[in-house]
């Protein structure tokens, strides 16, 4: 079977009423493009979200509708060929972070994000994934982590953090209530997160543990779009949770991992209904509101304006919009500046959806990052805070690219720093 055929078959196999009714609803108005930061930053109409799903639309119409079949038969519309899929692979992997702002803008309310996800699924089945991304997926398949956090690396890093930061990090603790899963980005690039989050959990008296088997919350299968791989990586976490008999899984500072585990897993694999899945940002807010940790007020005031970057998968698609704001209003009440737009309308950093892993996508992700710098300047924010480590990577890369003086901070680090009382 040809590559194209596999992709088209996958499109069709995934098109039920949910997909079809939305494809039928599109009126080709183009408003989605106005919400897409890739189009806004480059002016390239190919980056319109509706155009990104064109191959899905064509496959649906040509294979599943009378009109589409007739159009293809009479040559009014060309059938999809190999080159078209290769071109589209570039569009949906390199120029889309699946941020879902287009879903909010569509006058018909079409959920373009999941539809782009479906396109990726077909392309993944056909092996048309950009090399860098495919390599990262392979690494996660082989080593359990796209950044190479193997069993040994994991153990070593944990030892090192516990030593250097003098903090207790339980691993594979039996009888724990909560299983915390870090992202390899934090493990490898922001180890302070490990220490700070551990400190917060310990101070709050949470009965928590890490799992050596379920140690990677990042899900490159999710970026790739392959249901098989996504499910595989998710299953590891659920299995680990069941083995440890925990009641709750906490996703730390990662965005897409939260989307995958909290909002997608139950539709791919069996997730026990009693298992609560939450994000560290919500947990920290809960600790504060329940008085389990106390924060010194205004610790971060006096250092210039502080803005908050709403991460697409934690705020817009995650629902934790007010939690970080409640925390920042304690941490820096006089310095907090809202960006415009913000909250569920926030602009994506440009690094999500796997884009940051693809070298060829660099020009696009830096182009869209310009919008974030503009936002910070307009809001008078000298520092931008975020609760997603992938956004943090993108911000660091972008700031360097533009030679900007913008500073960034992780929210968990700020909370840990502001905690009152001894350890």
């Amino acid at each position: 079977m040809t590559t194209t055929q596999i992709a088209l078959d996958t499109f069709v196999a995934e098109t039920g009423g949910w997909v079809a009714s939305q494809l039928e609803a599109c009126t080709r108005c183009g408003i989605c493009a106005e919400a897409c930061h890739f189009y806004q930053a480059t002016g390239n109409p190919d980056f319109s979200p509706v155009w990104k799903i064109e191959v899905l639309r064509k496959a649906y119409e040509q294979r599943m509708t009378l009109g589409g079949k007739l159009k293809a038969a009479f040559g009014i519309e060309k059938k999809i060929d190999d080159q078209e899929l290769i071109d589209w692979s570039k569009l949906v992997y390199e120029a889309c972070t699946v941020c879902n702002k287009c879903s909010m803008a569509c006058p018909m309310g079409i959920e373009l994000g999941p539809l782009i996800h479906d396109v990726r699924s077909g392309l993944a089945a056909a092996g048309l994934v950009p090399d860098d991304l495919a390599a990262a997926v392979q690494k996660q398949l082989d080593e359990g982590s796209p950044l190479g956090v193997t069993d040994d690396v994991f153990a070593d890093r944990m030892d090192w953090v516990q030593d250097d930061w003098e903090v207790d990090i339980p691993i594979d603790k039996e009888g724990a209530d909560t299983m915390v899963v870090f992202s390899s980005i934090e493990i490898m690039k922001f180890p302070e997160n490990l220490a700070d989050i551990a400190r917060i959990l310990n101070r709050a008296g949470e009965n928590w543990t890490l799992s050596s088997k379920g140690r990677e919350v990042v899900n490159f299968g999710f970026y790739e779009g392959s249901h098989e791989h996504t499910a595989l990586f998710l299953q590891k976490l659920i299995d680990a949770a069941e083995e440890l008999k925990v009641k709750k899984i906490v996703v730390t500072e990662c965005g897409h991992a939260y989307d995958a585990l909290r909002w997608t897993a139950a539709n791919l694999i069996d997730v026990p209904k009693e298992l609560e899945i939450t994000h560290i940002v919500a947990l920290m807010d809960k600790f504060v509101s329940e008085g389990k940790i106390k924060l010194k007020k205004g610790v971060f005031d006096g250092g210039g304006g502080i803005g908050f970057h709403d991460a697409c998968k934690i705020q817009r698609r995650g629902g934790h919009i007010e939690e970080p704001r409640r925390l920042l209003n304690i941490l820096a009440p006089d310095s907090f500046r809202e960006l415009t737009p913000n909250k569920e309308q926030g602009i994506c950093c440009g690094g999500g959806g796997g884009v940051i892993a693809i070298k060829e996508a660099d020009p696009y992700r830096f182009a869209v990052f310009g919008l974030k710098i503009e936002q910070a300047e307009k809001a008078g924010a000298d520092t931008v805070v975020m609760a997603c480590s992938n956004c943090r990577l993108q911000f660091l890369d972008g700031i360097q690219h533009y030679g900007s003086e913008l500073k960034i901070k992780g929210l968990s680090n700020m909370v840990a720093e502001a905690m009152e009382g001894g350890d």
């Binding site: 039928e24 493009a33 106005e34 309310g109």
Partner: protein, 225 residues
């Protein structure tokens, strides 16, 4: 064959055919999509799907069409927002609250309703026609919309535009005899009725699917859609 004869046919047998094709076609299109199967959503909701749906309908139909400039997406494609809203508002009001149209509905449904004064309907119709022209120009000039527009889009525009223009000419007895204009109006309406189920003009049916899905997806996540 006089215009009076033509009118009798276009208002009579051809309308019957067009109307039946319209009904059968829309039901066909709807069932063909709906019967494809709907996967059950096994993800636990954090918020209320119902509230999300209610909010998104209220915002999508009741608020933002009338103040589109508050949206961030407005500036890049203002014509689509303004002309699109004017077109829809005018179309719906004229078709439902125009006296002549109401009487046609009354004959089909068995009951009528109060209507808007003729001069107001007239103004709405004129504004709608202008809006449609603006939308057509936009399809040629806006880079994104131009990319998305093919023969189907232009055909859809034409088949919606012609009934409006012929209706307006007819009401004002412009240029041609009343029966000639009425005949053209009925002809274009009949053709449009037949075309609706087989084109994106039927988006008004699928709107209720995408809008509801959207509200549910956001409501589930406790995010305001």
């Amino acid at each position: 064959m006089t215009w009076t004869d033509a009118l009798e046919f276009l208002r009579g047998p051809l309308f019957r055919i067009a109307f039946l094709v319209f009904v059968a076609g829309l039901v066909y299109r709807l069932i063909r999509v709906v019967a494809l199967g709907w996967p059950k959503d096994r993800v636990l909701s954090a918020g209320s799907k119902t509230k999300g749906v209610a909010t998104t309908y209220a915002k999508g139909i009741g608020i933002f069409p009338f103040i589109p400039w508050v949206k961030q997406t407005f500036n890049g494609n203002a014509v689509t927002f303004l002309a699109g809203a004017m077109f829809h508002v005018g179309l719906i009001l004229v078709i439902i609250f125009g006296t002549a149209h109401m009487l046609a509905w009354k004959s089909l449904l068995g009951f009528g309703w109060p209507t808007l004064p003729v001069p107001i309907i007239d103004w709405l119709a004129a504004a709608t026609i202008v809006a449609m022209v603006a939308l057509l120009v936009n399809r040629f000039t806006h880079p994104v919309v131009r990319k998305l527009s093919g023969p189907a889009e232009f055909l859809n525009w034409t088949l919606v535009f012609l009934p409006m223009v012929t209706g307006y000419l007819m009401t004002h007895h412009l240029f041609f005899r009343y029966e000639a204009l009425f005949s053209l109006h009925m002809l274009t309406v009949d053709v449009m009725l037949i075309w609706i189920p087989f084109s994106r003009l039927s988006h008004f049916v699928f709107y209720f699917f995408s809008r509801t899905i959207h509200g549910a997806q956001f409501g589930k996540r406790a995010v305001t859609p």
